[in-house]
């Protein structure tokens, strides 16, 4: 099923180019924005690192939320969803396979963006790569759970899901402080940040790569954050998929699975 999704994506070169450029353009603009606020003599590498490493997780979140749900919605509109349900293919594989090829594309775009940011602000700090990789993988796995939940919502809400998704995406961007330190958020917002596991993923990931400078991690000691990240990776996909199956079963029973 990953192969099917890969073929689908590769048949539309404009989509490939768009996927790369979106990663590249957005982060480059933010890197230039960061330079606007740093002293002329300073490179702003540390601040750019805060922005860029949070951006990496943001792209994974965005892929999970958009790709899985949107892809299912397209199947609903095209009428191929019910056909898929007649096959013996596991539903979990059907959901995961929609996001995997895009992660590869996003990784390529992120590599380009990293090169561009390094060109603008100088070498970004990159410490504890092994631990950072573990945190990253756990975070990505955890965001798949969010993707499953949103996919269920897409099946129910139809076209209006996109505006809800935008709100959720932007809300998480701010509350989970993906592009800036948690310290600049008002205390009341930080209170909400502490309730969302993704915040700890963001904080742990960039604190690890920045080499734990003073004040980082910001939300909790790194051991607690790592425990939350791992628990998030284990629980979120299971709970998200369970929610998806409940909604999907309800729609099937009502005969609405193929309706749009």
């Amino acid at each position: 099923m990953i192969r099917v999704q890969t073929i689908l994506i590769s048949r539309y070169p404009a989509n490939l180019a768009a996927g790369l450029l979106v990663s590249f353009g957005g982060v480059l603009a933010l890197a230039l924005a960061t330079r606007m606020f740093t002293p002329t003599a300073s490179s702003g590498a540390a601040e750019a690192g805060v922005m860029f490493y949070g951006y990496l997780l943001y792209t994974c979140l965005s892929n999970s939320l958009w790709r899985i749900g949107y892809s299912l919605r397209q199947d609903q509109i095209q009428g191929t969803m019910e056909g898929l349900y007649l096959t013996p293919a596991p539903k979990f594989a059907s959901l995961i396979s929609r996001a995997v090829p895009l992660f590869v594309l996003t990784a390529t775009g992120a590599a380009l963006a990293l090169a561009a940011v390094n060109l603008i602000v100088g070498q970004l700090p990159a410490h504890n790569l092994g631990l950072a990789a573990v945190v990253f993988v756990c975070s990505v796995v955890g965001t798949l759970g969010l993707g499953f939940c949103f996919a269920a919502y897409c099946l129910v809400a139809g076209d209006t899901a996109s505006s809800t998704l935008n709100l959720i995406e932007f809300g998480l961007l701010v509350v989970c402080a993906m592009f800036f330190p948690f310290g600049v958020l008002p205390e009341v917002v930080r209170w909400f940040s502490r309730l969302i596991p993704l915040s700890y993923c963001v904080d742990a990931f960039r604190s690890t790569l920045l080499g734990f400078p003073p004040g980082f991690p910001e939300l909790a000691p790194i051991r607690i954050e790592l425990a939350i990240v791992i628990a998030y990776a284990l629980a979120a996909p299971v709970l998200g998929y369970a929610f998806f199956r409940v909604v999907e079963r309800r729609l099937r029973e009502n005969g609405r699975l193929g309706q749009y």
Binding site: Y12, G25, A33, T34, R35, M36, F37, E47, P181
Partner: protein, 286 residues
């Protein structure tokens, strides 16, 4: 059998009626999704909030002073809000024309429109007019709300000149979006094409920075894009950041020149794309 009398030439009044009906149809279509309107008010605020918060973290107590050295104003919140709002307005122009064309193609109603005697240009004028009105309302609401959120005085600067830049700038902007619409019809890819435009415009328009910080080649390319002049002109008028050619009249003259060149060129390209498609597989193929 007698000869048929030629069809009467369509009048401007008839064209305006067509445009008015296009406005009404688009309004009815979008009225079912009030959430999108609200989203358009909040997205620029969040788009501006990200670099504002990032900048405060990066610059600390000297954030405003550091920003002023590069941008010519310490009022970075208003600077970024103007950029974010003009960016969304630009994106809306691209999305609304391109997406409308593509949706009509996919639902099969585009060919029906082509069989009517209505001049398609008036339909596009109506669509652009509605989207523009919606964009201006969103701009005003979002800018004022953003100023309240970031404690910025929304009433500062020369609004007359700022409005002049906005009013003149939207004409070549919609011409650009029509050109993009022709691309969407030809390539039959909406999301990808608009995302590419979005990425390029993010860099070219200077949403978060003045275009003068870009390398020379990038700056030259950015100056070919009407929204760049529009954004810079509004910032210069409201925040006194400086005009690209030294005076507002010169910058406005460049935008006016784009108004003269843009729409006829865009209509010409659109018409050629239409004819090419009609000779081939037809407008309805998607």
């Amino acid at each position: 059998m007698g000869s048929h009398a030629p069809l009467p030439r369509p009048t401007v009044r008839a064209g305006l009626e067509i445009a008015a009906w296009a406005v009404y149809a688009r309004y009815r279509e979008l009225a079912g999704y009030p959430g999108w309107f609200l989203l358009d008010v909040f997205i620029p605020i969040i788009t501006a909030a990200v670099p504002i918060l990032l900048g405060r973290a990066a610059g600390g107590a000297n954030a405003a002073a550091n920003f002023s050295q590069r941008a010519g104003t310490s009022n970075y919140a208003a600077f970024l809000l103007i950029g974010a709002n003009t960016f969304l307005m630009t994106l809306r122009a691209f999305w609304d024309i391109g997406l409308w064309l593509r949706n009509e193609q996919q639902t099969g109603t585009l060919e029906s429109l082509y069989t009517t005697p209505a001049d398609r240009r008036w339909i596009l004028v109506g669509l652009a007019g509605f989207n523009l009105a919606r964009g201006l309302v969103n701009f005003a609401l979002s800018f004022v709300l953003g100023c309240l959120v970031f404690s910025v005085n929304p009433g500062q600067g020369n609004y007359v000149i700022a409005m002049a830049f906005l009013s003149v700038g939207v004409i070549p902007l919609y011409a650009l979006s029509l050109f993009y619409g022709a691309l969407v019809l030809r390539l039959k890819e909406t999301n990808a094409l608009i995302q590419i435009a979005q990425s390029l415009l993010t860099l070219a328009m200077g949403i978060y920075y003045p275009v003068t910080v870009l390398p020379p080649l990038a700056r030259a390319l950015a100056l070919l894009v009407p929204p760049t002049w529009m954004t810079n002109g509004m910032r210069a008028a409201l925040l006194d950041t400086g005009y690209l050619l030294g005076a507002w009249s010169r910058d406005l003259a460049v935008l006016a020149a784009m108004c003269l060149i843009g729409p006829p060129l865009a209509f010409s390209i659109f018409r050629r794309t239409e004819r090419s498609l009609q000779r081939g597989a037809g407008m309805g193929e998607f």
